[in-house]
C-alpha cells in the first residue's frame, strides 16, 4: 500500500511539471524572447511572477524551461538506457576476457564525473539541447550498463536458471522468460532515479553556461541569472529552484513506488 501511495505522489509531482510543459507548447503568457516587460518587475499585475533582469516574463521562462528540463531528462534516459542496457546484457553474457575488457572500459567512464564528461562533450560539440542530451546520456549509460551487468550475473547464478536449463530450455528463451523479467524491475527503478539526476545535470550544465543555449529556456540558467539579484528580486531564484525540487523529488518518489510495485514478493508481504 505504501508503494502505491508513494508512486501516486511521485506521479502527481512529475505530472504537474509535464502538464506545464504541455501547456507551454500551445500557450505562453508572453513570447519567451519578449524583453519589453521592464527590468525586475515585482510579481503581480501584468507579470504574475514578475520579470527578470532582461525584462522577460518569469512565468513564461519557467514554463518553457519545464519543456527543456523534461526533454533533457527523458532524452538522456532514452540514450543512457538504450546504450547501458545493451552494453550491460552483452557484458553479463560475455566470455570472461570480453567481460573483463568491458568492465574496465565502464570503470574508466564511471571514474569521470558525469558532469565533467558532459562538459567535455558539450565543449567538443556545438552547444545545443541535443549535445546536452547526448552528453548526459553517455555518462548515464556507463552506470546503467554496470548495474545491468551485475543484475544479469546475479540472475544467471540463480538455481532457477540451472533448473530451467536442466529441462532443456534454450538460451534465448531463458533470457526472455527469466533474465529480463527478473532484472527489469530494478532497471526501471534505476532509470526513474536517473531521470531525476539527468534533470539536475541539465540544470547544472546550464548554470555553468554549458547547457542548451538561448532561445532554449532553462531553469539552471534562470538560477544563474537570478544569482546577482537574489536579495532584491528573490522570486527569480526561488521559482526555478522550487520547480527543480518538485520534478526531482517527483521522479525519486516514482522510483521508490515502482520498487515496491514491481516486485511481487514485496507487494504481497505488505
Amino acid at each position: 500500500m505504501r508503494g502505491r501511495l508513494t508512486f501516486a505522489a511521485g506521479c502527481a509531482l512529475v505530472g504537474l511539471v509535464l502538464a506545464v510543459a504541455l501547456v507551454s507548447l500551445v500557450w505562453l503568457p508572453y513570447d519567451p524572447a519578449d524583453t519589453t516587460g521592464g527590468r525586475l518587475a515585482p510579481p503581480g499585475g501584468a507579470h504574475l511572477l514578475g520579470t527578470d533582469k532582461l525584462g522577460r516574463d518569469l512565468l513564461t521562462q519557467l514554463m518553457a524551461g519545464a519543456r527543456t528540463a523534461l526533454i533533457a531528462g527523458i532524452g538522456s534516459v532514452l540514450v543512457g538506457g538504450l546504450l547501458g542496457v545493451t552494453g550491460g546484457l552483452l557484458a553479463g553474457f560475455a566470455t570472461r576476457w570480453l567481460d573483463d575488457a568491458l568492465s574496465a572500459a565502464l570503470d574508466i567512464v564511471i571514474a569521470f564525473p558525469t558532469l565533467l564528461l558532459a562538459m567535455l562533450v558539450a565543449a567538443a560539440r556545438e552547444a545545443s539541447l541535443g549535445s546536452v542530451v547526448l552528453a548526459i546520456g553517455l555518462g548515464m549509460s556507463a552506470i546503467v550498463a554496470r548495474l545491468t551487468r551485475v543484475l544479469v550475473k546475479r540472475v544467471l547464478a540463480q538455481d532457477y536458471i540451472t533448473a530451467a536449463r536442466t529441462s532443456g530450455t534454450s538460451w534465448p528463451r531463458i533470457v526472455a522468460e527469466h533474465v529480463l523479467p527478473n532484472i527489469w524491475p530494478m532497471l526501471l527503478v534505476n532509470l526513474a532515479l536517473q531521470l531525476g539526476l539527468a534533470v539536475l545535470a541539465e540544470a547544472a550544465l546550464s548554470y555553468l553556461g554549458l547547457g542548451p543555449p538561448p532561445p532554449n529556456a532553462s531553469w539552471g540558467r534562470l538560477l544563474q541569472e537570478a544569482q546577482a539579484t537574489v536579495l532584491t528580486a528573490p522570486t527569480g531564484a526561488i521559482a526555478p529552484g522550487v520547480l527543480l525540487v518538485v520534478l526531482v523529488v517527483g521522479t525519486n518518489l516514482v522510483a521508490d513506488g515502482l520498487r515496491d510495485l514491481a516486485d511481487p514478493t514485496r507487494r504481497r508481504s505488505r
Partner: protein, 263 residues
C-alpha cells in the same frame, strides 16, 4: 539401452583439484539408485555433470551416456534436446529453484508446451492435471513461489521436472530443506510417481535412512571417490568400507536413541 551409464567420470576444477575421481555407475530403465555421501563429496556435481551443466571453471572427463547420448564434449545446443527428455532434476531448495517473479502455472506450462506442443485451453488443462498429480490444488497455478509452503513448492518443483516426461529423474537432496513430516510426504509422492511412470531414479542424499526408503541400490561417495556400492539391503546389513560403516552406525545410533527415549 540404459537410462544412464557413467564410466570413469572425473571432474576437475580449473585450479587442478580433482573433485570427483573415476566414478562409474549405471541405471537401467525403471531402476532406482541412491547416491550417498557427506557435503562436499561430489554428489551434486555428479548430477550437474550428468546433465552437462557443470559451473564455469570445472571440466568433466570420462564418459556419461544419458539416454544413449554422450554428454561430455557435446555442444550445449544439442544437449538441450536431450535435457528434460532423457533426465530432469529436482533440486534441494525449491524456493530458489523456481523463478520468483513467475506464477507457478506459467513455469509449469513452459516444459509442457515444449514437450507436448499444447496451446491455449488444452495447455491450461494439462497444467492443472500436472498440479493434481502432485496433489496441489488448482489455485497453486496462479500463486507465486513465495506464496506456497516449502512442501507445496517442492511438489511444484517435482511437477516441473515431471512435465518434461523424463526417462530418468534425478532428485538432488529433495527433502533436505523440508520439515521431517513433510519429508515423508514428499518421499511417498516421489515413490508413487516414479513407480507409476516407470522412470529411473537417481536419488542423491546424505541421509542413509532416506536412501534406504527409496533406492534398490546405493553408491557411497567419499571425497569424490566411490568407496562402496551394492544393494541397499546388503550395505545396510554389512557395510564393508569403514566410511559406510560409520554412516550405518550413526543411523542406528539415532534409531537407538529414539528407542531409548520412547520405549
Amino acid at each position: 539401452m540404459s537410462a544412464l551409464a557413467v564410466t570413469g567420470l572425473s571432474i576437475r576444477h580449473a585450479d587442478g583439484r580433482e573433485l570427483v575421481h573415476d566414478l562409474s555407475l549405471a541405471l537401467a530403465p525403471g531402476e532406482r539408485l541412491g547416491l550417498i555421501g557427506e557435503s562436499g563429496s561430489g554428489k551434486s556435481l555428479t548430477a550437474l555433470a550428468v546433465m552437462g551443466l557443470l559451473p564455469a571453471g570445472m571440466a568433466a572427463h570420462g564418459s556419461v551416456l544419458l539416454g544413449g547420448t554422450q554428454v561430455i564434449g557435446t555442444p550445449d545446443r544439442r544437449l538441450n534436446r536431450v535435457r528434460g527428455r532423457a533426465a530432469a532434476v529436482v533440486f534441494q531448495e525449491p524456493l530458489t529453484a523456481m523463478d520468483p517473479l513467475m506464477r507457478v502455472g506459467r513455469q509449469l506450462a513452459g516444459p509442457i508446451r515444449r514437450r507436448r506442443g499444447l496451446r491455449g485451453a488444452r495447455l491450461r488443462a494439462a497444467v492443472l492435471s500436472a498440479l493434481a498429480e502432485v496433489r496441489l490444488p488448482d489455485r497453486a497455478a496462479v500463486a507465486y513461489p513465495h506464496e506456497l509452503s516449502g512442501g507445496q513448492r517442492q511438489r511444484a518443483a517435482i511437477a516441473m521436472a515431471l512435465a518434461c516426461e523424463p526417462e530418468l529423474l534425478i532428485a538432488d537432496e529433495p527433502t533436505t530443506a523440508l520439515d521431517v513430516t513433510v519429508q515423508a510426504e514428499i518421499l511417498a509422492l516421489l515413490d508413487g510417481l516414479v513407480t507409476g511412470r516407470g522412470m529411473a531414479l537417481l536419488f542423491i542424499s546424505h541421509d542413509l535412512a532416506v536412501i534406504a526408503e527409496v533406492a534398490d541400490r546405493v553408491v557411497v561417495l567419499k571425497d569424490g571417490s566411490m568407496v562402496e556400492s551394492g544393494r541397499t539391503r546388503d550395505i545396510v546389513r554389512e557395510p564393508r568400507h569403514a566410511y559406510t560403516r560409520s554412516l550405518v552406525d550413526s543411523a542406528w545410533a539415532l534409531e537407538g536413541e529414539l528407542d531409548r527415549l520412547a520405549p
